[in-house]
Symmetry: C2
Subunit: 429 residues, 2 copies
């Protein structure tokens, strides 16, 4: 019986796993140094949870199933609903602010395409319980901290920032009704993603009044924060939202990442639950979807049955990111870095047991060590050591039989040293 993997899923052979681990390990490391604590939830939850607030696109892409108890379940397409559930469950016991991160495996029944798969990993960071846009700045800083730690610069990526709060205030000020706002957001979110003409047509469908529509079109052509004040007039909400954006850019400057960041009125975000600052990060080639996106969602905990507590966060998937990192050559030499430290080889088959003892002692001392099952000539074993990217070879031969000495061969330089067994191990510490 010949079995295939399911389309849109990935097999992680060791060389693929090394790339996945490079990303996930760095996500974790950067999260921890920025003061976030790791959490996780189950891979499946009640279906109803994802139909509540995830937005139509995600809700239509669920892998849903029924268990034998008749429960309607689904594999998680995102982790934010789980986060909201978990925080609500313990809201009175958790010290605030809650700064949490997670690296969940997620599944969406999408049509597989470049940068989109049916199964992927997504870094999530969230700060719950802070109103100040310093929290939004910290989320953006943390995302940029990861990207620059991975080797990318402001020549490679750009953070595009706007504000749902600003957009809501201005659209209200223009006289657009609250009821239709969600549809309008959906269209505005497409501004950078579809040709100008198509954008105009989509806008016509959601804003029939041509004078209102013209105001919105003029607004969407704004290129800097300073141009916004003309639009806001004396509207208090709009002016507050502009002040908040200015304060955010001030924080980003203090944090030393302003060269990565740009105001962009076209950033609206597809998901229904955003309420304040929103941002997306793109690679500068502009050929790919967003590397990551996030923003403030002050109503979500209440929507999930909890108190109204302010929150802001970010999600970064591994698919688009992986393409960008691959293009920039970040994954080069990973197999060397992941190679074993000591390969123990035999010049004399009668030393097999002794060699096994050396391998075991190396492992017990915390060193990555291996040996050849096939055995054969020393040359063959050294070849196997090279294939395993071994840094050093430990050879047991005549010197061992006669004087309990090991030959230590540096596989890079070829240099050989002869060391007494006990000296070798005591130097390892």
């Amino acid at each position: 019986m010949e079995i295939q993997p399911v389309k849109g899923t990935r097999d992680f052979y060791p060389e693929d796993m090394a790339k996945r681990n490079f990303i996930a390990d760095l996500w974790k490391q950067v999260s921890l140094r920025n003061g976030f604590a790791e959490y996780d939830g189950p891979i499946f939850e009640y279906l109803a949870m994802y139909q509540l607030k995830s937005g139509d696109e995600i809700a239509s892409q669920l892998f849903a199933f029924e268990d034998r108890g008749g429960r309607q379940l689904a594999i998680r397409p995102e982790i934010t609903p789980t986060l909201a559930r978990m925080v609500n469950q313990r809201i009175n016991a958790l010290p605030r602010p809650i700064k949490w991160f997670s690296v969940p495996r997620l599944c969406r029944a999408e049509r597989p395409q470049k940068g989109r798969l049916r199964e992927f990993f997504q870094w999530n960071i969230d700060i719950i319980g802070v109103d100040d846009c310093l929290a939004d700045a910290e989320v953006i800083f943390c995302s940029v901290d990861f990207l620059s730690q991975a080797g990318l610069t402001n020549n490679d990526v750009v953070v595009r920032i706007s504000s749902r709060r600003l957009m809501a205030a201005l659209l209200g000020y223009f006289g657009i009704e609250k009821e239709g706002l969600e549809k309008v957001y959906g269209v505005l979110d497409k501004k950078n993603k579809v040709p100008q003409e198509a954008f105009g047509k989509m806008l016509e469908e959601v804003i029939s009044d041509s004078s209102k529509r013209q105001k919105v079109q003029k607004l969407m052509a704004v290129e800097s924060l300073s141009q916004l004040e003309d639009f806001a007039g004396s509207d208090k909400n709009a002016n507050q939202a502009i002040e908040e954006l200015k304060q955010l850019f001030n924080y980003l400057n203090i944090m030393g990442i302003s060269e990565f960041c740009k105001f962009d009125i076209g950033i609206v975000r597809g998901l229904a639950y955003y309420t304040g600052i929103v941002f997306e990060i793109y690679d500068k080639s502009e050929q790919l979807r967003a590397i990551c996106g996030g923003g403030r969602y002050d109503n979500l905990l209440a929507d999930f049955g909890g108190q109204k507590i302010s929150a802001t966060g970010m999600g970064m998937g591994d698919c688009v990111l992986g393409i960008v990192l691959e293009e920039k050559g970040v994954f080069k030499n990973l197999s060397q870095k992941n190679g074993i430290e000591y390969f123990v080889a035999l010049a004399d088959e009668s030393l097999q047991n002794e060699s096994l003892k050396v391998v075991t002692r190396l492992r017990r001392a915390g060193r990555k060590a291996d040996f050849s099952y096939k055995g054969g000539s020393l040359g063959k074993q050294l070849k196997q050591a090279s294939a395993a990217n071994a840094a050093m070879c430990v050879i047991l031969g005549e010197e061992f039989t006669q004087k309990k000495q090991l030959v230590i061969k540096n596989m890079d330089s070829g240099q050989q040293d002869i060391v007494a067994v006990e000296d070798f191990f005591s130097r390892l510490g």
Copy 2:
């Protein structure tokens, strides 16, 4: 709307995640130092793959679903079928032996009970392409290496070892037909798990001939390898299987773990695919299910449409293991170990921007650093630092305003040093 988690799944709050990471990180570390490379597969695969060889118990516990393309899929209940599929796909390109490990998330629709959940994590290690029982010894060594690295000794755990090959040879020698063997294995596997009387009754159901049954019952009372030879008589297969077990114990002795290991005729393993050495590890209190189990499965790759290539491996779940480690106090002080390194506090609110710069520099230098969003008095901030298990506090106050100096407070000893900002950062490296 109030939403619950699904029964049998777990929420990993940061303190639970710290335990899960303690286990998973050590699984990875021990695998790597023993020369295994990490792989992974998708969380769901074709349902048919799990119905093929997983055994009735697992096949009856699948979370199965249909996608919109009408594909019959299931969340993975084990990773061995994926391993077989992946190895078969690239069998001619992969250098042998293949020494791989994985730490998959798995789901089984079981009734949740102590040590058994519907979602869990399982460490898997496998060696493919080695006939010699040295590979079985290495798998056992690796399991024990993890347990002792986690802090357990041979007073806490025991490895019970037997051989399917031996059992097959002896049962054949006793005249039991090959066709009924699978059912007989199922019963023999229960020897250590049910009362003696119940075991006798179960045996009657699968071996009707009383003289054959008596031979089997006598065999199952054997307590040491040396007693086996009387049963084997002149049967070549049985004697070879005994020799192999002796050689295995010889290897385990060379590897220095014989005090953990014990021959136990009652170890048969439930799964259908085992063909040689089999083993299970138990905590010595005998109150729990096996911590881990494994063995040789030489036909599995062929069963999945590949070549016949020998293989041996092991699986260790996190549920029973977690209970044992908790009981032994291994998880103590994890939150201290995971605390942040530097908490940056302000004695003067006007220094907020300067403090943010210090936090950012610490993070950029790879240090786990955080600060207070709430601010307030220095005392309040130091309290928050304690709650975050901070090792050190960095305080910006008068000394900073006047001389660009930081107060560095050791949170453990309470000792305070005053250091110039640039000296502090240059010492960090």
